[in-house]
Structure formats: structure tokens, C-alpha cells
């Protein structure tokens, strides 16, 4: 009986010990992926910002500018790209909608971002674009890879439509989470005007006025390294309308402000990331280490049982001959 129990324990020990690395190194890279049907919105705000008034063509101080960013996973398009490329991809259709203090649109920039669901590497298929113009991303955008590393990444900037390094600047604690802080500075660069602007202004009209748009920003992200999801983002964003061929003329500030995530969105993002990171940690840490420990324990028990079963006098050892009855002694 002990022999059989020790064999069962041995099988269970091997099961647990083998499952541990299989979960971490085989199952995790295949199971951890961004869901293709993700829908998420975030509101950012810039208080006391400078904003251009297209009627007067001058900057004015406004109490607040809101930036509503929505991303929506396009499952049908993701399936088409998967059929074409054989890769598990996510297609995000996004919209950055900027609202002035009067509640009216300042600009509206749609984007399509196609990336590998597991590694978050950009995939050049499925019509990746910014504001209707095809682009080719060489860097990540919106989300870092699972198990983010302490290193610089290439990050795509939608205004310049180019990728540039975003630098790892250290580990911080944010709302009780240990996060990696990243920073990217985009120097003054000439950028295209958004196709949708207020008062029916078009890029052609602005160009005819003799103006072009320049932009500079310092972008900051606080990223949960387990899920790769940013839990906070800020930008020191500046935009100017500069006179074409007249560097001596003073540029018009189109926008200048410190853009921050609205506090209630920070809280909801932290809650979402906290729940998701448990699932990732389950596959990368809790289950592998727990199973390894359990495997060792079961193996020890199995060996103990086996040793006991081989000891003379144990229940499973062959029964010795009983001692002969004593000879009757005459009284």
C-alpha cells in the first residue's frame, strides 16, 4: 500500500515540477496577449493653457482644455490581418479629440495602430495610419510589452509621425504600485496640421495665410512593468504657428499647456491594471514557484514513504515466521 502511495506521489511531484517551467516559458508567452476587443477611454486635461483663437489668429489663456482619447479594438480587421500575416495582432482604432473651454472641438485626430498581441511590436499591415495618412511605426505606442524592461524603447510620436527613443528614468511608486518612469522629449519639429479644425479651418487655408505648424513636447509615462500598461501620463505640450519664410515674425502659440490625466481616470486605470497584473503574475510567478515548491514537497513525501516501505518490520515487508508456541511444562 505504501509503495503504491509513494508512486502516486512521485507522479504528482513530476507533474508539478514539469508544469512550473512549462507555464512560465511555454504557456505564458502564448497566453499573455492584449485582447483584440479592448475598448478604453481616457480624459486628459490642461489647466490654464494657451490656445489659439482662429478668429483673431492670436493665443489666449483658457481655463481648461480637455483631450479625450478613445481606443477601440477592431476585431474584424485583426482577423483579416491575422489571415494575411499569420500573426496574432490587435488593431486599435483611436481618436484624440481635443475640446476647448466652450465645449467645442479644437482638433480631432483619428489613428489606426496595428501591433502584435503578444510582443506589442508594430505590424505593418491593416492600414496603419494617423489622421488618414498612412504611416509606418517602428516603435510602440500607448502600451509597453508585458514584463517591461528597465531600458529605453522606441516610441511612436503621432504628431511627427516618427519613432524616437523613450528613456527609462528609474523606478517610482505610484498609487501603491511599483512603476517604471519613462520620458521622451521631441524637439521643435514642423508637423502637419490636423485635417479637422474648428470654424471649418483647413490645412490649405492655414497654408494660404502663410503659416505652418511646429510642435515640441516632453512626454512622461508611469508604466506598470508587469502588464506594460501606463497608469499615468503627462505631457508638456507646445504648438506654434510659424510664418513661412519670415523667421523674424513672432510665432503664434497654437497650444501650450501641461497635460495631465484626470484624477478619476488615474484611479480607474490603476484599478484596472491592479486586477490585470494578478493574472500575469499568476503565470509568471505565483503558479511556477508554487508548483515547484509543491513538487519538491511531494517528492520528499514520496521518498519518505518509499524508504519506510523498505524498512524491515514495516507493514509491507514480508511477514516473518511467528515465534513457536512454548513447550508445555509439566506442573
Amino acid at each position: 500500500m505504501r509503495r503504491r502511495a509513494s508512486l502516486v506521489l512521485l507522479a504528482a511531484a513530476v507533474f508539478c515540477a514539469a508544469l512550473s517551467p512549462l507555464l512560465r516559458w511555454y504557456a505564458f508567452p502564448r497566453l499573455a496577449k492584449v485582447p483584440p476587443s479592448q475598448y478604453q477611454s481616457v480624459v486628459m486635461e490642461a489647466k490654464n493653457a494657451d490656445l489659439i483663437d482662429y478668429n483673431k489668429m492670436e493665443a489666449r489663456k483658457v481655463s481648461k482644455v480637455n483631450i479625450v482619447q478613445t481606443l477601440k479594438g477592431n476585431v474584424e480587421q485583426a482577423k483579416k490581418v491575422k489571415d494575411a500575416t499569420g500573426r496574432d495582432v490587435v488593431v486599435w482604432d483611436t481618436l484624440s479629440y481635443i475640446v476647448g473651454p466652450d465645449g467645442k472641438m479644437v482638433s480631432s485626430i483619428p489613428e489606426r495602430y496595428v501591433f502584435d498581441a503578444h510582443s506589442q511590436e508594430p505590424v505593418h499591415a491593416g492600414g496603419e495610419s494617423v489622421d488618414g495618412t498612412p504611416v509606418r511605426r517602428d516603435g510602440i505606442e500607448y502600451k509597453w510589452p508585458f514584463l517591461t524592461e528597465k531600458r529605453d524603447y522606441q516610441y511612436f510620436d503621432m504628431q511627427t509621425r516618427t519613432s524616437a527613443p523613450i528613456h527609462y528614468r528609474g523606478t517610482r511608486t505610484f498609487h501603491g504600485l511599483e512603476v517604471y518612469y519613462f520620458e521622451q522629449t521631441i524637439p521643435w519639429t514642423k508637423v502637419p496640421l490636423p485635417k479637422k479644425m474648428p470654424l471649418g479651418v483647413t490645412p490649405e487655408v492655414v497654408k494660404q495665410t502663410g503659416l505652418e505648424r511646429w510642435y515640441s513636447t516632453k512626454r512622461m509615462f508611469w508604466v506598470d512593468p508587469v502588464t506594460g500598461a501606463p497608469v499615468n501620463g503627462e505631457e508638456l505640450h507646445k504648438e506654434e504657428m510659424r510664418w513661412i519664410g519670415h523667421p523674424e515674425k513672432k510665432p503664434i502659440t497654437a497650444f501650450a499647456g501641461h497635460v495631465k490625466m484626470r484624477p478619476d481616470y488615474v484611479d480607474s486605470t490603476v484599478d484596472l491594471v491592479t486586477s490585470q497584473r494578478v493574472l500575469v503574475l499568476l503565470l509568471t510567478s505565483y503558479l511556477p514557484w508554487g508548483l515547484l515548491g509543491l513538487g519538491c514537497l511531494l517528492l520528499t513525501l514520496s521518498l519518505v514513504l518509499e524508504a519506510r516501505s523498505r524498512r524491515p518490520g514495516s507493514g509491507t515487508a514480508p511477514a516473518e515466521d511467528p515465534a513457536p508456541d512454548p513447550e508445555p511444562v509439566p506442573a
Binding site: 507533474f15 508544469l19 507555464l23 476587443s37 474584424e76 479629440y97
Partner: protein
């Protein structure tokens, strides 16, 4: 010999479980019917 067979059974069970889990994978779901927002929502 019995010990070897027991270990092989444990290993095969672990492999089968992991292969089954990864083969099933995650459901892809459907595109959300919600629109891309053009107003400032009051709450997340």
C-alpha cells in the same frame, strides 16, 4: 521501473495540460459597439 513509469505519467499529464490550455487560448470577442468619444465623459 515502476518509479520511471510514474514519473513519465506525471510528465505526460503536465505536457497535455499545458498544450490543451494554450490550444484553447483566449476568446477574441467582438468589436465594441461603443463609439469613439467626441464629448468629455463625466465619469470613467
Amino acid at each position: 521501473m515502476r518509479a520511471l513509469i510514474a514519473a513519465a505519467i506525471g510528465l505526460a499529464a503536465a505536457l497535455a495540460l499545458v498544450l490543451a490550455i494554450t490550444a484553447i487560448g483566449m476568446p477574441s470577442g467582438e468589436t465594441s459597439p461603443k463609439p469613439l468619444l467626441t464629448t468629455v465623459p463625466a465619469h470613467p
